[in-house]
């Protein structure tokens, strides 16, 4: 076993030393003299969060299947260790498997899942002794490469990265690694390597692009600085999701993590096209995994991990066409071994209630509805095809089946939202409670009363969604809306059965800046980090006032990024990326939203978003040829 990077004194003083020692079941140990490339795979948040992320497990498995590569993991040291490492100054951040410094790796690959981890990216670089800015690095430092959903607008953090990998990791890493080996062997410069990397599909190397701004601060142009560097970068997609990398032996942590279970990704993408949802656009087209593959992997992963629970993962799982067969299979196999099945994101109907009744303890579990908006009008605007009728029907069925707890998710601040829509949230919650009292007679209310928890988050417009043009609310508007929701709930007849939670407003505003930010935001992130901001996704560590200070000192106006009205022809910072759906489609959807018109989902009627060019998935399901020629959805 390798020596630990941290002394016993330190490990015994920090909370949960298991975060830093590696050695977990299925962690991959290789002989470093036998590999050519070392990769540090990083999730810039605490171990328990990072270890729960499927994408990293997939890439970790893929890299380690390559004989010439050793991929190891690194997460953000928690605040207690962070403090010690800064005090002691002689402990560089290390990877878990070999316990060797991150700085000695060839690549530092960072998955960027949410905007609020940006200061943690700087923490990881800083504690690794890697210069924060890509321009200050040399061959003494790893190539820092970013991936994940946030790279669909990488500009606010572009200065910190050597490369961004746009899209799904399964397809192009091998090519990039080969290039790296070749260039290192030929003793080429780092710059030369990056230049060549920029020509591999899906790779965005920020240093080879120059942004010109208009006087009003919007973008005039973003162009390559050299011949041969592509003007547009198309996202990478793994079209054959049934014959590609997937871990058979995921790493099993010692401590309890957020996802302490086998995770089976049944499909990628979503057919629904909710207009606020970025995932629903950037993962197009929907690709289902083969049922046999899923069965095989489910059994192998359970055997190799010993986990007592398996969870299906995807957006809108109910849309997976072989779901009943898969669930029957799991119920049969898991029953023998006392393995729990967890089924997130199922649409509530007779089928799902039947299944949930079989796999969950009804007394302990709750029903989840995500109407996202309180009125049918606003649900039409956001294209959330969930009607009040179907919610109430689902709730009635569930209450008859013994459920008594309901969770409702809404967003506040959606485009066109009015007071009526907000009242609708309270009224819907009230109607659900009323359904309970109507359907369950007094003597049958064995599990106590009905409990309804309504939660609201604040709407943040995201790139590559039809709402990318939408102005965002100010913090004050957000809070007003939350208070209005609260008082509307208080006025309901069944208010005693309804609990209301809302999300923090200032974190949402900052997230809004990052989501649609440009290159100028990098300075703010660096300054805020230097002033002590870190773990911003954790409300107990979020320092809103310090962030405000940083914006002020640099003279950057948050409102430019959040509340400003954007014209239809504005060039966005992310427009040089091509996520598969084209801007014309997004514009059409934005207009339809304002007209309160819904669009059918991919299976009910192709909207010609452009993702059919990848040549597979849902776009080719019925006809065998891509029916999305771009005309169907035009008005």
């Amino acid at each position: 076993m390798s020596e630990l990077a941290l002394r016993d004194e330190i490990l015994l003083q920090v909370e949960k030393p298991a975060r830093y020692i590696g050695n977990e079941v299925n962690a991959v140990i290789k002989d470093k003299s036998q590999v050519d490339i070392r990769v540090a795979m990083c999730f810039p948040d605490v171990y328990e969060i990072g270890m729960s992320h499927l994408g990293i497990q997939i890439l970790y498995d893929m890299f380690n299947r390559f004989d010439d590569v050793w991929c190891e993991r690194v997460y953000s040291p928690w605040v207690d260790l962070d403090k010690k490492m800064r005090e002691e100054k002689n402990i560089p951040l290390f990877v878990l498997e070999s316990q060797e410094p991150v700085r000695d790796m060839d690549f530092l690959a960072i998955t960027i899942q949410y905007e609020m981890c940006y200061t943690n990216i700087l923490q990881v670089l800083d504690l690794s002794r890697i210069p924060l800015r890509a321009k200050d690095r040399s061959w003494e430092h790893p190539i820092v490469i970013g991936g994940g959903p946030c790279v669909y607008n990488p500009e606010p953090i572009a200065a910190f990265f050597d490369i961004f990998y746009i899209g799904e990791g399964e397809t192009r890493y091998r090519e990039l690694l080969n290039l790296y080996k070749e260039y290192r062997k030929q003793e080429k410069s780092r710059e030369e390597f990056l230049r060549a990397a920029a020509k591999i599909p899906g790779m965005y190397v920020p240093r080879f692009y120059k942004v010109e701004y208009n006087e009003d601060g919007t973008i005039q142009s973003m162009l390559p600085t050299e011949e041969g560097i592509p003007e547009r970068i198309v996202k990478e997609v793994e079209m054959d999701v049934s014959h590609t990398y997937y871990p058979e032996k995921p790493v099993v942590p010692f401590i309890k993590v957020t996802q302490d279970r086998v995770v089976l990704e049944i499909q990628r993408g979503c057919i629904r096209g909710c207009r606020f949802c970025q995932a629903g656009q950037i993962y197009r087209p929907v690709r289902e995994r083969d049922l046999d593959m899923l069965k095989r992997y489910a059994l192998a992963m359970l055997r190799n991990t010993g986990h007592e629970e398996i969870s299906l993962s995807s957006l809108s799982s109910s849309d997976y066409s072989r779901l009943p067969e898969l669930i029957d299979f799991l119920i049969e196999k898991c029953g023998e071994k006392k393995i729990n099945i967890s089924l997130p994101s199922l649409r509530i109907d007779a089928f799902s209630l039947d299944v949930m009744g079989k796999v969950q303890d009804i007394k302990k579990s709750s029903l989840t509805f995500a109407p996202e908006a309180g009125s049918q009008r606003l649900r039409n605007v956001i294209n959330k095809g969930l009607t009040e009728e179907s919610i109430l029907q689902g709730a009635a069925l569930a209450f008859q089946g013994g459920w008594t707890r309901v969770k409702l998710y809404f967003m506040l601040g959606l485009p066109t939202e009015t007071e009526e829509d907000i009242k609708g949230i309270a009224e819907l919650a009230n109607k659900i409670a009323a359904v309970f009292f109507e359907t369950v007679p007094k003597d049958k209310r064995t599990n106590g009363k009905v409990q309804i928890v309504a939660s609201t988050s604040f709407f943040i417009p995201k790139p590559f969604t039809p709402f990318q043009w939408a102005p965002m609310c100010t913090k004050e508007e957000f809070l007003e809306k939350a208070y209005a929701t609260r008082s509307a709930i208080k006025q309901q007849l069944n208010q005693k059965s309804i609990k209301y939670n809302w999300h923090e407003a200032d974190i949402s505003v900052l997230e809004g800046v990052f989501a649609r930010g440009d290159r100028k935001i990098a300075d703010v992130i660096e300054l805020a980090y230097k002033k002590g901001c870190i773990f911003d996704a954790w409300s107990e560590f979020f320092k809103g006032d310090v962030w405000m200070e940083a914006f002020e000192e640099l003279g950057i106006d948050m409102a430019f990024y959040t509340t400003r009205k954007r014209e239809l022809d504005e060039i966005f910072p992310w427009d040089f990326l091509d996520c598969g759906v084209n801007k014309e489609f997004l514009k059409r959807e934005w207009k339809k939203a304002l007209e309160e018109t819904v669009s059918p989902n991919c299976r009910a009627g192709c909207q010609g978003c452009g993702a059919n060019r990848f040549g597979g998935g849902v776009c080719f399901e019925n006809t065998g040829k891509g029916y999305g020629n771009g005309n169907e959805g035009k008005d």
């Binding site: 076993m1 015994l12 079941v25």
Partner: protein
Amino acid sequence: MKVRIKFAKSGAMRFIGHLDIMRYFQKAIRRADIDVAYSEGFSPHQIMSFASPLGVGLTSNGEYLDIEVKTHAGAEDMKQRLNKVMVGGMEILNVTMLKEDAKNAMASVAAAEYTVRFRQGYEPGFDWPDRLMEFYHSPSIIVAKKTKKSEMTLDLKPFIYRLSLLGKGGTAPAVRMLVNASSSGNVKPGLVMEAFLRANGEELSPFALEIIREDTYADVGKEGEPHFVPLDAIGMEF
């Protein structure tokens, strides 16, 4: 059938706490495909009993857990299956069978034996190997014991069953002690060492000691006449 598993914990695993070791074994038993018995109810769990929680930072050559199995292919097979799914620093030492009426591991614990060393740089300022036995042979070893409400004094002496010096004159002398580890009178080896240093006018720093639990014992003697045997001595081969 009740089965007792003896294991060693070393290396980096010393930083994995007791609750996580329990979770680790539940998963390991599944990976090893052992036909383990589960409790009844909506969320069944493996029927499992650990002898004595080992503190974070300690290593051990004698930890125990009992499980219940429905079918098996012999002790050797079970040991091999388990060892195949262990991580570095965890080793199954032996597997034995218990009589149906045997007390479970936790209830059986009476004593534990430890080897204690000073880490480099943390050795006491006085010539401690020469003073150790004098300390042990003093008629009483009084320590302060803080409870939530009050501070009491306690005589450790009756709870220390054996104490000796290992490697006298060598480069890394150590203390070996057999102390009470039962639920009612558990003595931590650090407490004994703290008393030893205090008796010599020094304070024990919190990271000074490297502690190995050598084995865990049951008392099979009569009232007033203890006879300590390792917990696996109660089990039988199968």
